[in-house]
Symmetry: C2
C-alpha cells in the first residue's frame, strides 16, 4: 500500500511517520511506499521497512498536487495546514494553503481517478461560541477564525467529493494536542502545553488564564492513533458528513496543574507563574470545553481518560529526545 | 449609490433590476449607476433614472471580478450561480462558477478596499436530511448536492470576509421561488411552478410526486423584496453567521392545487395530470418543508402567507408578458 502524508514535517506528521516506520503497516495492510511532503523538506526516516521519499512541496502551487498523487497512493493523509494564528495574521497565506491547497489536492485525486481513502485533519476550530456545555455531534459549524472557516470548507469539500465517489473521505476533528513537545510558542493555545512541558524541564512557565478554564485535549500519541485508525476503519458507517469529533479529555487548567503535581511533585508545579492576560483569556473563552464524540467512539477511536496519563506519556516520549 | 448585480440575466436578477429601474433607489438612497453582469449579456433596461450598463462577464475568469468592482459599487448583489441540476451534472462548471467565482469576487472586493455591502444569494439547498419538522435558525448545514455545498462554502466565506472587515455581508437563503414564469424546465423542482403556470395558460402539466409533499416557497415578488430589504437593512444585528433563512410559505402540493382551483376554477386545476415518478419523489423527499425564519422576520423580511396570493400575483405579473 502506498501512503502520502502532506504536512509531514509538522509535529503530528512527524510522529505519525515515525510510528509508520516502526509498524510498517496500517491495519493489516503493509506499507510499500511512504511519501512525506511538506513545504519544509521533512527529515527522511531511517530504517523503514518500505521505500520512503521526502518531498519539499507546497500543495497550493499549481501542478504540485498532481505530482504528489501521480503514483496513486491508496491512502492520503492531508495534514498540511497554515495554523490558526498564522492564518489569522496572514489572510492570503491561510486561504492559499488551507483552502486552495486542499481544493487542488482533492481535484488532483479526482483527476487521478483511483478513488483512494483521504484522511483530512480538521479541528475543533470549526465550532464557535455560543456553546452548549457539551457540543453535540451535529452542532452547526460557526467558525470565528479564518483557520476555522478554511477547515469547515475543507470538511464540506471532503463530503461532496466523497458523495460523488471521487474518493473515500474521513475527516477527523482534532482536540487541542497537549503536551506539545518543543519550545514554547506564541500561539494563544501554547500555554496549555507550556505549563506542563516547561516545569518538567525545571523551567518556569506562564499561565495567562484562570484555572477554571476548561478545554478539550488529546495527547500526541492519541492523535497518531486517530490517524492509524482512520486509515484502517471500515467507512461504511461514516455518514454523509464524513467528519467526526475525535474523542478527547475535558479538563480544567486546575485539573492539569493537579495532575502535574501528582506526577512530578509540588515543587515542579510551583514553576507555573500566574500572569493573567485578558486578551488571551478572551480568546480562550471562545474555545470549546467538551465535545460529544460518541460517533467516533462507537467507531473505535480512543483518547486518554486522565490528564495524569497525558503527563506520564509526555515524560516517556520526550525525555529521551 | 452605485450597484453591481451579478447573475443579472437570471429570473430574479432581471426582476430585481426592472424593479430598481422603476424605484430608482434602495431604501432612501438613490441609485446613480447600475451594472448588470452575467455570462449571457443582460438586456439593457429602458427608461432608468440612472446610468445602467450591462456586461457580458464570467466572474470565474481571472480579472473579471476586479473590473466589475473597479468603480467601487456601494452594494454588490451576488446572484450569479450555476443552478442545482447543472452543478450536479457538470461538476467542474459548478465549482468554477459557484466556488471559484464567488471567491474571486470576494477577493476583488477585499483588494478594492472600499468595504461595500455584499448581498449573497444562498439557498435552502445548504440543508440536507434528516430534517426536524421545522428547520431551526441554527441548524447545521449538511448539503447533499454540489450546489448546496458551494452555497454553504459561500456563506462561510461571506462570514469570514465580513468578520475581517473587508465588506459588510448579508446572505439570504431563498426558499424555492414559485411561480417561476417562462417555459417548463427539467429541474427536479420545476413541477412546483409548472402545475400552476401551465394550467393558467390552458395547458396540461405533470405532477410527478404525491399531493402530501410539503415544501417551502416564496414568490418572485417576495424574492425581489428580500433583495431590496437586504440592501437597505441596518446590519448591526445580523450576527456572526451573516446568513438568514428567508421567510416563506410552507405548503403541500394539495394546498397548491386547492389554491389554483379557488383562484382559477376547477377546470383549470383538472389540467394537472398525476404521473408519479419515484426518482423525482425521492429527490423531493430530501427537501425541507418548513424553516424557522424568525430572525429574518424580526429584521423586517416578509413573504406571502397564502398560496392563493402567490397564484394571484403570478397572474397579475405575467399575464401582460
Amino acid at each position: 500500500m502506498k501512503i502520502l502524508v502532506t504536512g509531514a514535517a509538522g509535529m503530528i506528521g512527524r510522529k505519525f511517520c515515525d510510528a509508520l516506520v516502526k509498524r510498517g503497516k496500517i491495519g493489516s495492510r503493509p506499507v510499500v511506499r511512504l511519501t512525506m511532503a511538506d513545504t519544509i523538506k521533512p527529515a527522511a526516516p531511517t530504517g523503514a521497512p518500505f521505500e520512503a521519499c521526502t518531498d519539499s512541496a507546497d500543495i497550493s502551487d499549481p501542478g504540485v498536487a498532481e505530482s504528489l498523487v501521480a503514483d496513486r497512493p491508496e491512502i492520503i493523509y492531508h495534514l498540511a495546514a497554515v495554523v490558526s494564528g498564522e492564518a489569522e495574521a496572514d489572510f492570503d497565506k491561510g486561504y492559499r494553503v488551507n483552502l486552495t491547497g486542499t481544493q487542488r489536492l482533492f481535484e488532483a485525486v479526482r483527476r487521478a481517478g483511483h478513488q483512494p481513502r483521504v484522511v483530512f485533519a480538521s479541528s475543533i476550530a470549526v465550532f464557535g461560541t455560543p456553546f452548549p456545555e457539551k457540543i453535540p455531534e451535529d452542532y452547526a459549524l460557526t467558525p470565528l477564525t479564518s483557520y476555522g472557516t478554511q477547515k469547515a470548507i475543507g470538511e464540506f469539500l471532503l463530503a461532496d467529493f466523497s458523495r460523488r465517489g471521487f474518493f473515500n473521505g474521513i475527516g477527523i476533528r482534532f482536540p487541542t494536542i497537549c503536551v506539545r513537545p518543543g519550545k514554547p510558542n506564541k500561539a494563544a493555545s501554547g500555554f496549555f502545553s507550556n505549563i506542563i512541558r516547561e516545569p518538567l524541564k525545571g523551567k518556569p512557565a506562564v499561565l495567562p488564564v484562570g484555572e477554571e478554564v476548561r478545554h478539550w485535549f488529546a495527547s500526541p500519541r492519541a492523535a497518531v492513533e486517530f490517524l492509524f485508525h482512520a486509515g484502517a476503519l471500515d467507512l461504511g458507517q461514516i455518514g454523509s458528513g464524513r467528519t467526526l469529533n475525535m474523542p478527547g479529555l475535558s479538563a480544567t487548567v486546575r485539573e492539569m496543574i493537579v495532575s502535574l503535581r501528582n506526577v512530578a511533585g509540588a515543587e515542579c508545579a510551583k514553576l507555573i507563574r500566574r500572569e493573567p492576560d485578558p486578551a488571551i483569556q478572551k480568546i480562550v473563552d471562545g474555545w470549546p470545553g467538551r465535545l460529544d464524540a460518541s460517533r467516533a467512539e462507537a467507531l473505535g477511536f480512543r483518547a486518554e481518560t486522565s490528564f495524569e496519563e497525558i503527563v506520564r506519556q509526555h515524560i516517556e516520549d520526550e525525555s529521551a529526545g
